[in-house]
């Protein structure tokens, strides 16, 4: 998809440029993505439209090819880096223009675990999809999750773990929420390489998300269901 070194992005029409940004994201070309984003903004695109149609859609394609074994972690990381650079341009504009917000998520890697590649991807894609994301970083004990929940009052709690030895800590957090009678106040989404649906069910999470795109879709779907339930019971 690369090899267009001489390509003048300004010579492309909107549709072609959007497609080119998808390709540049796929190839992890950070500078080109930023340039493309700036051109679309100059042409009067709303920041939210640039975000969803150029960046999020581009990363969605990357996600599909990762899931299908066409792309591997290094390529996804390069794409994510490029998307991050594009997001950095858009973020202040999105705040100014009041883009639609879908909900709020607190996310963090569990205690004993310092791996954050997957978590960062999820956070970025959730932000791109319209969620406010509070990222607690790595190595989080249950107290830190509880403090963040208390402070930020999110709709969703996201937990990540890469290690077989640290994933059981997710249950510690969920059990603590149950003990405090808070479990049903939040959607709990979990993810990480060694996890699976069975594990998520066993520890009492609402869902296992195998990748960032699934996390976004799951969050949207479960939040919509919850809103419908609340509306029906009102």
């Amino acid at each position: 998809m690369s090899g267009d070194d001489e390509l003048d992005l300004r010579s492309l029409n909107d549709e072609e440029l959007t497609q080119q940004i998808h390709d540049d994201l796929y190839d992890g070309l950070k500078d080109e993505v930023v340039e493309g984003v700036n051109i679309l903004l100059e042409r009067g695109w709303a920041p939210y439209k640039v975000l969803t149609e150029a960046l999020v859609e581009g990363m969605r394609i990357v996600g599909i090819d990762f899931r299908d074994g066409i792309l591997f972690v290094p390529e996804v990381l390069l794409a994510a880096n490029a998307m991050k650079a594009g997001m950095a341009v858009l973020r202040p504009l999105l705040i100014e223009t009041g883009a639609p917000r879908l909900g709020k998520m607190v996310i963090g890697t569990v205690k004993g675990d310092i791996h954050d590649i997957g978590k960062n991807l999820v956070g970025m894609m959730m932000e791109g999809a319209g969620f406010d994301v509070i990222d607690l970083g790595i190595n989080n004990p249950v107290e830190k999750y509880l403090d963040a929940i208390e402070t930020h009052k999110p709709d969703i709690l996201g937990m990540s773990a890469l290690l077989t030895t640290t994933m059981p800590y997710m249950k510690v957090v969920i059990d603590t929420l149950k003990e405090k009678g808070m479990r049903d106040d939040y959607l709990v989404l979990v993810g990480g390489a060694p996890l699976n649906e069975e594990f998520a069910k066993a520890i009492g999470a609402d869902a296992y998300c195998r990748d960032a795109a699934v996390a976004v879709e799951t969050a949207k779907e479960l939040l919509a269901r919850r809103h419908n339930r609340l509306a029906a019971s009102a």
Binding site: P74, E75, L78, N81, T164, A193, F199
Partner: protein, 216 residues
């Protein structure tokens, strides 16, 4: 392939025992990253009972392939061996390897991964909190650092990925199965390239040796 009627190798004291596949009647299904250590133990202990089949060590980077890969070997080997034993930790399969092994009626070595069973599972668990920011190498990983880590993770081609992978680590801990100055140099050099402090811990073969002794 086991020929049950084939005679066991005849050895005289002092003669080198050279492992060869296809002779033993206890099949060890193992991660390729353990092959050298397993053969070293078999030869040092002159164990004639074992046959070994290894699966690709590169699955270290894609553990979801391990459970069904192991199942496939078990099924193709069943009935041809007196017993089968698996030399994998959970290795990031999130319990799926254990589920496959329970379904197939085969046991594996205890432990979450080779770092733990080389160190000793109990000891590894005790130091887990202290080692939260440690990145481990074994002899195999020190030997193949370039291929598996530096190139395998794309850092060679894209150095900007280095902080994304290793930004949260502080130390590289080389868990050594053998005392080999050349491997120590490689491990120390790996730490420097990753920008991490270096620590050496000699583990020997740890619970790998004990597990094989029990089945020899």
């Amino acid at each position: 392939m086991v020929d049950q009627d084939a005679p066991l190798p005849e050895l005289s004291p002092g003669e080198d025992f050279v492992f060869a596949r296809g002779r033993g009647d206890v099949l060890l299904i193992a991660c390729g990253a353990l092959a050298r250590e397993i053969v070293a133990l078999i030869e040092a202990n002159r164990w004639p009972a074992f046959d070994v089949q290894c699966l690709p060590a590169i699955w270290h980077n894609t553990p979801s392939r391990i459970p069904e890969g192991v199942r496939k070997v078990i099924r193709s080997a069943k009935g041809r061996y007196r017993s089968i034993f698996v030399l994998y930790g959970d290795c990031g399969t999130g319990g799926l390897l254990d589920k496959v092994l329970a379904e197939e009626g085969v046991e594996r070595i205890d432990g979450p991964h080779c770092y733990a069973f080389f160190t000793g599972n109990e000891r590894f668990a005790q130091t887990a909190e202290h080692d939260t920011t440690a990145f481990f190498l074994t002899d195999y990983l020190a030997r193949h650092f370039d291929k598996l880590i530096w190139e395998g993770l794309g850092i060679a081609a894209h150095p900007e990925l280095l902080p994304l992978y290793f930004g949260n680590y502080t130390r590289l801990v080389y868990l050594a199965q053998t005392r080999d100055p050349a491997l120590e140099d490689l491990a120390r050099e790996a730490a420097a390239r990753l920008g991490l402090d270096y620590e050496f811990r000699f583990t020997g073969y740890g619970e790998l040796g004990r597990a094989l002794t029990a089945r020899a």
